[in-house]
Symmetry: D2
Subunit: 309 residues, 4 copies
């Protein structure tokens, strides 16, 4: 049946240290559309193939990191049932008022044991600059810079990732698509979950010492060619590269990682398999973590597992 | 919430005039895996990125065309509820016994007013040669020839396409993603429906004179580069080209069409947008049908709207 | 030894009916750099990866077509020896004065029996916006629109193409790379010549009724992906498409053809083989002309062999 | 004028420790055609788009490395004039007899002050499996594995690279295309030379402690997509990766490096600019060496400048 309930990661609010530099990065170097800057100073962005008004929100702050990751659900009435299911699991919810962000409806907020904050919402205005719907062209204006189609997902770092993932599977009907485990104990060190046909809509990365951290915010590109083009731009604009172009073993996505001027890690990726709920769960043992994360290099550099915001 | 109910087009059974030539085409020139040939002469195939045992079934017959298009549903018990909903709409259902195809469970069969036969089923054995699941590599063996990831969808030709589409939306929870209409009457001349995040899982093309016909069977490739590569193979192996490489306005997919040795139209395509049920329906007026179908050529050649099987 | 003598097609001067529309086409829709508009109204353009000041010159005129195709030679003194060799063959030469175009040195002009005008020149100023040479980045500014690397070649239509080709092989040291012939007579109907490692630097297409005509002006793109992107732009901007994306049998280039607002045919192409002078000449028989020209379609539409400027 | 004199790197003879493992690597994993194994145990290979009989020769030996890099010249009589020019520079030449390799004509051998051995030859039989020349298809058989078009060039490590480069520019008419220098002294630390329109046909990399060493043998692929595909194969077949997929600042080529089972470094690359002898020389200062070599990473890992064969 057509997808219902949680549809996708709808927007993420990120903290940046210097808004001017951040706008240069996200608008000029990455090519996102700057939808607007509101009175409270927050800046709103979207990718060229997104219907909703915005998907990235930047807030100037003293430290980088993620304020909240919000999932869009299909219908307003589902917010109530999800809230009940969260509460039934013992997860506390709070309300975020309509209007806290422009054009966004009421939001149900909860926190995972990893210390990350999530919202569920069902309403956001359509963008005036979204995909055409009547005798539509491929796009209104040629996609710019990194040619970002959409905000895609976040990967988050924390201690109790099993507890966090359980909330998504039990209360929000997410499916575990892929995970990495310690063979003897079966304990997961990384869990990738989906609410759609995507290989992942959210990922939790286990870490004994860090909770509530953002590993990366990810954006979808059309192709491996666009990954290469993003690499060209990263070098041209002296953006701080983390790693890539490369491919993930997990999800099989083709990827490149870099940092925004505040130190938040960005990913642009393409490809990866489609997921169906009748597919087997794919599983990695922790000794193969290098290949799981970077399929070509087969090893993970320190920065990737040590630098979070 | 994770996808439930109808998941995807699971397999299609196609009639071919000469099995030997058909195997050369589908296995050697297109690169599908030949899973096996059963005692009744039917040949079973799959793409390299499919978990289930088979997705294409060829039956030798006196005329080309499609016997049946079967959709996989998530759970066996859903077959009963879908059957009830079909019956409640006045759609007659029949049972196809377990074992009619190797490894496939019970099937609920129904026919649309366009004269096409569809099955719903919930069980098929996993392929021994499907994607790896433990410390998985990208593929077991390098994808061959056209590098087909999966069977993707069918487009079907008939008179009462509104009646056919209604069955899919009302009884099977499909969503209309895109359609072409006659402006004055609002009458649809083409309807594209999905049960997933794909831009289409099935399409109905209106035709005043032809019912129960197959327009094309479509296969998913990774990229525009693979579309070009398919074109190279089509020319090298003297496969009968219909049109392409080109792009669709509808779905935005990049595509090439050709004919199997029996005259059944095949499509290999890549790209196209992802669909979410909160997206607006995209609509074309019939005067823009050229651009809707072939975004580059902006016109449709006669063969494309006259040759079916 | 390193290439000497004739290096490459250096610039072409094209007639357009409406300069404003032409600038929109060549600058905004194709993405060439507009170097400048001179006092006599001519507009000068270049691709992003060209060192010299300009490679395309547009002149407003009452009819479309090509004024002159100019080849750059390595050294000024070679102009004299080429002129002598031309004269020795009975080919009349005239001088074009320094300054007829900004920054271009003296030019030796001659005409082929097909009625086409060619110049040889050795000097043009370097562009201030050419590729970087000290600790160079990939490009100064991101390539725009169709991402044209360089003006590449012209294909010209005429009656006595053997006579025209002879001038290039005998007086200018070009090599015939590929040709199409009438099997019984051996008479060529198309001749592709190079002065470099490119599969072609100029092509002559035989036609019994048309002399001195331009078939197309061709621009080099990086990849098949960029051909697809050019197609997207062609459709988006309602540029008149001739054919493509497709591939040539001759040269193996991947290509798309379209018309500028004055009716001059443009090509953007990518790929094709590299040529070395010890390679065999590739030869097509006229019955395979369809495949020779359009490797996928295996037939040539009337417009392609009937519409010239 | 059409290229004369030295045309291209024609073949290279490489030492391998275990021929069986080497054949698995070069034939099965890289996809080169194994032309044959001769009585003396040497194995001959070629890429799918090469006309000549072979371009890679493997010899089983106790240590890896390069025996000889041979350049093909246009005409036999040019061998004499090149020999004279070499001798006039004080470079000793010796003759390698016809038949030392199957189907190869006489060779003029010389050594650079860096201790590398080079041959010049004008004759080699055409492959029976080279590109088609009459009504040609794109290829006879679909390119295999890494889809290698041709052997492209070698990069060699030595102390007196200026002396080595001088032989190529003064006696063999090569052009310096790009170089890296120490700013104060102007001393080159890397010199890239061409005898064609390629960005490089040979490269010398300066090293204070190593002479006569092979840095890498390089093969040309069609596109960035094929670089990514090579990376997929490298990981799938557990080939030892050095670095990539990435891009060079020098030449702008897109590249991936890996090791054959004997430790010889291989490169597969695509793209990069075309060179003309009127182009300015591009120059890097040694402080930008990271970006010069790996345009994305902007730093060079130790293995790349320490491991040679």
């Amino acid at each position: 049946m057509a997808q219902r309930g949680v549809l996708r990661p709808g927007f993420v609010q990120i903290c940046v240290l210097d808004m001017e530099k951040a706008i240069t990065h996200y608008r000029d170097h990455m090519g996102l559309e700057l939808v607007g800057i509101e009175a409270d100073g927050r800046a709103y962005f979207k990718g060229y193939d997104e219907f909703d008004r915005h998907s990235i929100v930047l807030r100037e702050a003293d430290a980088p990191g993620m304020d909240v990751l919000a999932f869009k659900v299909y219908a307003d009435e589902e917010l109530d049932s999800f809230e009940k299911r969260l509460n039934d699991m013992g997860v506390t919810t709070t309300a975020v008022a309509v209007g806290e962000q422009p054009s966004v409806g009421r939001r149900v907020r909860f926190e995972t044991p990893t210390g990350h904050v999530f919202d569920l919402y069902a309403e956001m205005a359509l963008s005036e600059n979204g995909p055409m719907v009547t005798n539509p062209d491929l796009w209104r204006e040629e996609p710019k810079a990194m040619r970002i189609q959409r905000f895609d997902h976040c990967a988050l770092v924390g201690i109790n990732i099993v507890g966090a993932a359980n909330i998504f599977t039990e209360a929000l009907d997410f499916t575990i698509v892929e995970r990495a485990i310690i063979p003897d104990s079966g304990e997961p060190v990384a869990i990738f979950l989906t609410c759609s046909n995507k290989a992942h809509d959210i990922a939790f990365l286990g870490n004994p010492d860090n909770d509530g951290k953002l590993h990366h915010v990810s954006f979808n590109l059309e192709s491996w060619t666009d990954i290469g083009h993003a690499a060209d731009l990263i070098s041209r604009y002296n953006i701080s590269l983390d790693i890539g172009p490369t491919r993930h073993g997990i999800t099989q996505g083709q990827t490149i990682y870099f940092f925004d001027p505040s130190g938040n890690r960005n990913e642009t990726f393409a490809g990866g398999y489609s997921h169906y709920p009748d597919n087997p769960v794919r599983e990695w043992t922790v000794d193969q973590m290098g290949k799981a994360i970077f399929y070509y290099e087969k090893e993970v550099h320190g920065r990737f597992v040590e630098v979070f915001t």
